[in-house]
């Protein structure tokens, strides 16, 4: 699917900015799915089934992207021609890298000790960290419009999401 060209914000009638009205996103997602879901086209000709499948797939992808703060930030940057996760884009401040290593160590220790409670605590701590970053991202994207700073913060957010996913996975294996 070459959905990269599609404008997810326009699809949901939302202004292209970081701060979004989540309730409106959800409502419009449901409206689009109501009009396009394959369940509405079970008896339709193949061409209409295909159009339904493509539209429903696109809106699922677009909804998932805009709803998740890190993916939304990454997508906004993509729209401006910036690849936040490109290999060339490695500059992250030393203190954040140190911080990240510390989280990884905590994760490994808790995993070794099969300590689900510690893992859950670390997870909540990281979510709080991410929440603060998301507030800052709104400022950088929508107010000061500082793409360089927004890119760096987006990269941090993606790192945190990655660690969070690993914590979840560790909890799952231990559970």
């Amino acid at each position: 699917m070459s959905n990269n060209q599609a404008d997810y914000f326009q699809l949901f009638n939302l202004p292209e900015q970081y701060a979004i009205d989540v309730k409106l996103l959800e409502a419009n997602f449901r409206k689009i799915q109501s009009a396009s879901h394959p369940d509405r086209f079970v008896n339709a000709p193949a061409s209409e089934k295909l159009a339904s499948m493509q539209q429903a797939t696109l809106s699922n992808e677009a909804y998932g992207t805009l709803k998740n703060p890190a993916r939304r930030a990454k997508y906004l940057l993509e729209r401006r021609g910036i690849d936040a996760v490109a290999d060339t884009n490695t500059a992250l401040p030393m203190d954040f890298l140190m911080q990240q290593m510390e989280w990884r160590e905590q994760l490994d220790d808790a995993k070794q000790a099969k300590d689900i409670e510690s893992l859950e605590r670390l997870y909540l701590q990281l979510r709080a960290e991410a929440k603060a970053m998301e507030a800052n991202l709104g400022e950088l994207f929508d107010v000061t419009k500082d793409d360089v700073a927004a890119t760096e913060l987006t990269r941090k957010l993606i790192f945190i999401d990655k660690v969070c996913a690993d914590i979840q996975q560790a909890i799952e294996y231990l559970d």
Partner: protein, 631 residues
């Protein structure tokens, strides 16, 4: 198979004619069929007033195939030819059935096809696959429904455990096709239950469906809002159910008997079946009683007479109850919800009648579970509601089911690792593409191994299919760009295609899981099941082709009338041209030519269909959405 609705030539069926559609709960232990009549979803009964059809199939000595109660009654007498719980073996290989020593069937690894890993069961009627056995159950329900409703069915919604993997879903769809059913949709059992429950109670908020059936466990968390049923997360265990509780009792009985009978000989197949049946009865008895007596005489003359207390039953099965809580916690984590966010917990499946299951669910969610619907029937009732809508009887814009894929899907990469392409709990339908590259200089082929599961190692995931992409132009290692696309449709079924793109050379292949039946196998089985002559088959195919030609011409004409302005006059003319062509070809008696002309008309209308879709999405969003933007 096309829908068999034949009206007089030149006349289309009345638009508001009620179409006969059913929901089928194809269960491990029991199966049901339901339909919507006079706006009410009802379970259809057999001639004896039974709603539940035991999922038991017997291949009798006289060649007859017997399904249901009658087959169940013969289980102990004829254990190897009387198959129950076939659902447990759907889409499974012989190695997946770890407890087969305790199952009185003769399992065989399918040998007819080297690529197929599906198991078969040896019966007096020959080798039978779980797909064929399930098809017998579906056929029986189809006959019941057509008799009861007085006409041919246009289609059915068949339910599957939410945690079924792709191979198990594909096998279920194959069974329906073998039974001659037009599958409107495969629907996840907990989602079906949520529909029945939610509509009945006008429920809003976050609901947990805890579904412990005969052989499968599902837990789904849904957000219900104004007729939209959005699955937030699902999890489960497709090899855990009420059967396992029977089995624990069975093992306990054997251990108990061995204590007094040291020289207890190995059991015959009949003895195993008899003891399993007695164990199931004891389990059911213990739902409302403090103890159950298990009394029977084995073939070697030994008398089994033991009493199982409710307390002991809890003790020997508590680990199974605990086993359901781990998937429950996983689903809650995936949905990012905590216990306080849950507005209700619905119990589904006969096994949830066990008091210690109810206690465990109540303890975990800190609220009394909802049980005001019959846990045996709720899935079929929900499936019937969905079938009624999908058949087009009700233009219900208010009801929308958004389901998810239960397990992650990925590909094998270097070092035996799995690269996930689609993550579990992604809303369906979904398509995701990922690029891969070659490992060696001059590599012209690439082996693509499709896997399903959450673990990192290939060996820990379920292998769905392998295929080879050939014809890659020789290039330096890492230069080729192979784009692999995974698509999961609204039935939860996967298709994978791969394409080399850097040079524009295309190689494409669609995969089907190695546990399913091949297209040829289905065709030959269907052929064998038609008693009619070759002539009749041709006539049937021609009639079907004409029906679908008439249907598409009708629907394209209506679309042109309504939305022709969306495309240019030239485009309209091109479509009209294809319609004319199809109309001419339909006059002749060539089914293949008609089907080809139908395909051509479909291709000619693709851009038009896309334009109509865009227009319909815009109009769905107009009004409120635009107003709120202007604020």
């Amino acid at each position: 198979m096309a829908l068999l609705q034949i009206s007089e030539p030149g006349m289309s069926a009345a638009p508001h004619q009620h179409k006969l559609a059913v929901g089928i709960d194809l269960g491990t232990t029991n199966s049901l069929v339901a339909t919507v009549r006079s706006a009410m979803s009802t379970v259809l009964q057999d001639d004896h007033g039974h709603a539940l059809l035991p999922s038991v199939v017997r291949y009798a000595p006289d060649g007859a195939v017997i399904v249901g109660h009658e087959a169940q009654a013969q289980q102990s007498n004829d254990p190897t030819n009387t198959i129950s719980s076939a659902k447990r073996f759907m889409g499974r290989s012989i190695n997946d059935i770890t407890d087969r020593a305790h199952i009185p069937y003769r399992f065989v690894s399918a040998s007819h096809d080297q690529n197929s890993k599906a198991l078969q069961i040896e019966t007096r009627a020959g080798l039978k696959s779980p797909v064929e056995i399930s098809a017998e159950i579906l056929k029986s329900l189809k006959i019941r429904a057509e008799k009861s409703l007085g006409g041919e069915l246009v289609g059915a919604v068949i339910t599957v455990p939410a945690y079924f993997d792709d191979a198990q879903r594909q096998a279920t769809k194959d069974a329906a096709r073998l039974a001659g059913l037009n599958v409107l949709r495969l629907l996840n059992e907990p989602t079906a239950a949520a529909v029945a429950y939610g509509l009945d109670n006008a429920a809003e908020g976050n609901f947990v469906i805890y579904d412990l059936g005969g052989g499968t466990f599902d837990v789904s968390i849904l957000h219900l809002s104004k007729g939209v049923f959005e699955v937030l997360a699902t999890n489960g265990d497709s090899a855990l159910g009420g059967d396992d509780f029977d089995h624990r009792i069975y093992c306990w009985v054997l251990d108990t008997v061995r204590e007094t009978n040291k020289e207890f000989a190995p059991l015959t197949e009949s003895d195993t079946r008899l003891l399993l049946t007695k164990s199931r009865q004891a389990k059911e008895w213990l739902t409302e009683n403090f103890e159950a007596q298990i009394l029977c005489r084995l073939s070697n003359g030994i008398l089994v007479d033991v009493t199982l207390s409710a307390e002991k039953f809890v003790e020997i099965t508590q680990h199974l109850v605990i086993k359901t809580l781990s998937p429950t916690r996983k689903a809650m984590r995936d949905a990012s919800l905590s216990i306080e966010d849950i507005n209700g917990v619905v119990l589904v499946g006969g096994a949830t009648r066990m008091p210690h299951i109810r206690r465990a669910v109540e303890d975990y969610f800190q609220q009394e579970p909802l049980t005001n619907l019959d846990p045996d029937k709720v899935v079929a009732l929900g499936a019937a509601i969905q079938a009624n809508i999908l058949a087009g009887n009700k233009n219900d814009d208010e009801l929308l089911l958004l389901d998810v894929t239960p397990l992650s899907l990925g590909l094998e990469t270097m070092g035996g690792l799995v690269e996930k392409v689609i993550h579990r709990n992604s809303t369906l339908p979904i398509a995701r593409a990922q690029e891969f590259t070659t490992y060696k200089d001059g590599q012209t082929a690439m082996s693509i191994h499709v896997l399903q599961g959450e673990r990192e190692l290939v060996s820990d995931c379920r292998s769905l299919a392998r295929f080879t992409l050939r014809g890659i132009p020789p290039m330096a290692a890492g230069a080729a760009r192979i784009r692999v696309t995974f698509t999961v449709d609204a039935d939860g079924l996967l298709s994978v295609s791969a394409r080399e793109q850097s040079t524009g050379v295309e190689a494409r292949i669609e995969v089907k899981p190695s546990y399913g039946l091949t297209e040829d196998e289905i065709t030959s089985m269907l052929k064998a099941s038609f008693s009619s002559a070759e002539e009749d088959k041709k006539a049937r195919m021609l009639a079907e082709a004409r029906v679908s030609a008439g249907a598409i011409i009708n629907s394209v004409n209506l679309a042109l009338q309504a939305d022709g302005h969306l495309i240019s006059a030239a485009e309209q003319e091109a479509i009209q041209h294809e319609i004319k062509r199809l109309e001419t070809i339909t006059q002749a008696d060539d089914a293949t030519a008609i089907n080809q002309a139908v395909d051509a008309l479909n291709t000619a209308t693709e851009a038009f269909a896309a334009a109509r879709m865009n227009a319909s999405v815009s109009s769905a969003l107009s009004g409120k959405a635009i107003n709120s933007l202007e604020v």
